[in-house]
Symmetry: C2
Subunit: 118 residues, 2 copies
Amino acid sequence: MARVTETPADDLLARVRFDDRGLVTAVAQQWDSGEVLMVAWMDAEALRLTLTSGRATYWSRSRQSLWVKGDTSGHVQHVREVRLDCDGDTVLVKVDQVGGACHTGDRTCFDADRLVTA
Amino acid sequence: MARVTETPADDLLARVRFDDRGLVTAVAQQWDSGEVLMVAWMDAEALRLTLTSGRATYWSRSRQSLWVKGDTSGHVQHVREVRLDCDGDTVLVKVDQVGGACHTGDRTCFDADRLVTA
């Protein structure tokens, strides 16, 4: 069993390896079913808000602004747990998703397109 | 229920939105338990090999080379399904992971570091 480091939110900025755009990859997963809901990006402020507000918050690359998931759609993500990966450039955000995670209305952003193997 | 598009491997390059480095984000998930194992990157060739060989294959940004997962460690990922997300810039690769996915020996790359919420 792995030793688990528990990192206070305040120590985050020193531990996360943001890329040259100041972003980290964020994978949102439904905490109980394990569904991968979506993949998006967070800047330092989005990650701080995610940890402190209990609402998953992203950085919208297309709108170039903070995006509190569900503020427009009502499809809120309540944060249950956040984990950082081994090289510090991806966070796994376990959430309780209200409604569909995808802007298309699907439950997940991966529902609609299955790439067929040989 | 979402309508599911099934895309042949040959049509991939036209459908996937590779970034300006020619890469797409890949989330590897254990197909039955739902564990998120790791997040890595694929170029077009890595994705083609993932779909056609049945072995998850990535592009190593640090080594700047193709990386057939498990070739060195034995910790192979057998591909069960690949899905493309709604905006085409992330693939979800459902695999059967042999051993640990993480280079540290952990089962997943997210085992060791939990960011504590307030």
